[in-house]
Symmetry: C2
Subunit: 336 residues, 2 copies
């Protein structure tokens, strides 16, 4: 049974998903390689058309009546078959001696981005990527009204070094009954910045980067993609909306279209520059009632998985980045 | 040139080590495999005897006059040839527009644990491991008096998934001119706990785990090894001194001996249980003047690298652990 346990020192919560527990030997096994032929791949992939029996309940389906798409759907949100948090249990606190526990209640959804196993975001039709952003928006908005959820994160693991187990293009959504540590620190940090500087730090960054130009990868009317001045990882890349808003739930139609364009362009530049690197893409956004915050600013972060954080990083939370963000931006901006 | 850059939102510092910068293609190259024969390995390893010309200046050398050890030394601390922070530059702050920069001044040392390339800690003579702990102590104490250093971390990356580039048994020491994020959070969190509970949280954990017994891996007079109740990672393992002390610099002779024993036993149990897993070992300890803290408690953390943190973890700082700490402790305690 899943549960949340609290670190009594730092007050951070950890999800213990015991159901997925393994015996020690399971960690030593070499994983099966993806079968070789195109047909074998499709046959064994739970997200490919024809294998609907392998996946859990559908939550949302975008139909596609285009006769060339025999699947009949273009994007789907489904329940995760191996959820980190459970949909159907009571939100409740308990304790064990000096420790605190929260039932592992929450949401864990999978967004299957396309029936096509082999075409990733940079190469999807632009209209399709716009629909994907719209599905992100619909699921985010639907869950934002559930009172017992405190945070929603949408993320995408791409490639073997990014912790993905399935190669079919997909995103995930996890909604938690507590505020995760980094979200709390980002949100608290931006509030403090506002108190001192009378401005949202993200708005200040956008303004400064626009002037400087040294760390811009690409941009359009509504968004700017940069390698942040204080990047923790080589080629860490942020996509920021120019209009101040704390919550992704407040995105408008023009921004939805511009986001789909800049997401596709940013991922294509990473693909070309770094030869299809593994990466994690994560939505950073806060929910109601804080969505009216003047200091927080929703955005996407992309972390290419080019190097392995080691003892120093894990032990201190301080990162060593071997690529100057200015160099990363120069290479990405010139990689068409 | 190395520099520290501050995240203006979270106030965390990042080390940008541009000297080690790579072109995008460098991330795509497949790394050379370690040469096959024992002789070839020794010949190309900068830490093996005979290759002293490959490494930087020696800081400390434990001599060994045992005639069976032709190297003449048993443990060495040397300057890191590719330092994350520089030894010989001025501590100074600057800014770039809205951002703050600190010169990349600090220490980055390598502790070569033995002349023997092939024998890791679990299989070293017990006396040798005691000498290693003593070298840790000597380097920690020597740097603790340098006023401009704010934190010292000693760590050890073992195995291919732990971010190590050299297989010869070695540890590293990095001293930073700022307090790293996690160190600040741990120390602040333990202070708050003390304010509410009138006790060090680590002392409370040791007391509770001793009573419960559910998460003990092994123990001796001075130390206890547990899988913490709120483990973020599968088989996350902590070695805690029973005597309250905030700083490793206050270790006594009996504790040095007992630490060497429990470190060796803990690493042997991990080796046997998980078939020589990759792991990061990190010292958590604070420097003067805070070393008299009643709330912080020095210890070692071992993070086996069995799974890959993905978008959820990187985006939220919240971890999903698929092994209940109670199960991990049961397996480790029975793995002789």
């Amino acid at each position: 049974m899943q549960e949340l346990r609290k670190n009594i020192i730092t007050r951070e919560w950890v999800i213990i998903a015991k159901d997925r527990g393994k015996r020690p030997d399971d960690f030593c096994k070499i994983q099966d390689k993806e079968p070789k032929s195109r047909e074998e791949i499709i046959k064994s992939c739970p997200f490919c058309p024809g294998n609907e029996g392998m996946i859990n309940d559908e939550i949302l389906v975008l139909k596609d009546t285009n006769s060339a798409n025999y699947a009949g759907w273009s994007i789907k949100a489904v329940q995760n078959k191996y959820p980190a948090l459970l949909n159907n249990i009571e939100f409740k606190k308990s304790s064990e001696g000096i420790y605190y526990i929260f039932a592992g209640a929450g949401k864990h959804e999978v967004i299957i981005e396309s029936p096509d196993h082999f075409t990733d975001i940079p190469f999807m039709p632009p209209e399709h990527v716009k629909n994907l952003i719209s599905v992100y928006y619909q699921r985010y908005s639907a869950l934002m009204t559930e009172k017992q959820l405190k945070h929603i994160v949408i993320f995408r693991n791409h490639g073997p070094s990014a912790g993905t187990s399935l190669l079919h293009p997909h995103s995930q959504l996890i909604a938690t009954p507590v505020i995760p540590k980094e979200v709390f620190l980002d949100s608290e940090g931006s509030e403090l910045y506002y108190e001192y500087e009378e401005a949202c730090p993200y708005c200040k960054i956008i303004e400064f980067e626009d002037q400087s130009g040294d760390r811009i990868v690409c941009e359009n009317d509504s968004f700017i993609t940069i390698n942040p001045f204080f990047s923790r990882f080589s080629y860490e890349t942020w996509i920021l909306p120019r209009r101040h808003n704390a919550s992704f739930s407040q995105i408008n139609l023009k921004e939805t279209e511009d986001l789909s364009k800049i997401l596709q362009e940013t991922l294509l530049r990473l693909y070309n520059c770094l030869k299809d690197p593994s990466y994690n893409l994560t939505l950073h956004s806060i929910m109601a009632p804080e969505w009216q915050s003047k200091s927080y600013h929703w955005h996407f972060q992309i972390i290419p998985r080019l190097t392995t954080p080691a003892g120093f990083e894990l032990g201190t939370g301080m990162y060593i980045n071997t690529t100057a963000p200015e160099d990363a931006a120069k290479y990405l901006a010139s990689a068409q």
